[in-house]
Symmetry: C2
Subunit: 116 residues, 2 copies
């Protein structure tokens, strides 16, 4: 759905390629991504429905979308048991786990400065 030759697209791609910070932000900047990551960082494995319950305001469309992107970026792992009714478990990947320290610091910075 993205136009791969729009100025917008090219600008973003350029930034992500040349700037480590921006690349990092593109991975965790989606609306619900850090919420999902935070959930998976302290749960080892979670079923789709458990994540949905935890993120009270998210819609299914958004949840699926963000999960898929996190998965494509290698931050989380999807495990489909191919059962009926479906059972799918998500867990954090090694790459995802390596973000933990950063996320904690972002949490602390945010808490400290959000009331200024």
């Amino acid at each position: 759905m993205r136009k791969e030759n729009s100025t917008n697209f090219l600008n973003e791609k350029d930034l992500a390629n040349n700037c480590g910070m921006y690349y990092t932000i593109t991975l965790i900047g989606g609306r619900w991504k850090i919420s999902i990551l935070a959930a998976l960082l302290d749960h080892e494995v979670m079923r789709y429905s458990e994540i949905k319950t935890r993120l009270t305001n998210i819609t299914e469309r958004m949840l699926i979308k963000q999960l898929k992107e996190l998965q494509d970026d290698g931050l989380i792992i999807r495990n489909d048991y191919k059962e009926v009714p479906p059972r799918v478990e998500y867990s954090i990947s090694k790459k995802g786990r390596s973000l933990e320290k950063l996320l904690i610091e972002m949490q602390q910075w945010g808490k400290k400065h959000s009331k200024e």
Copy 2:
């Protein structure tokens, strides 16, 4: 220009209020914000035109917009000399400077993981 009662707006506000990480991301997540912050973190003061020259692909509309948001969020300081022709200098604030460590870590993480 934002609808202050749209689901979209409320969801974002809710996240920013309740989650330090998300708050942090909203401040630095704009398309050009970290580029601007990075520039100001290693220049002490920069004129508007200097920033524009450094961010080669940015348009004036976006530069002004991102500068204003960074200023509203207290990360940078605008100093208007009220001269003609205009002279306006931007510099990093104390709050902005306190992000430096985090940004460096994001840079390192990004550099390390962007080729996986």
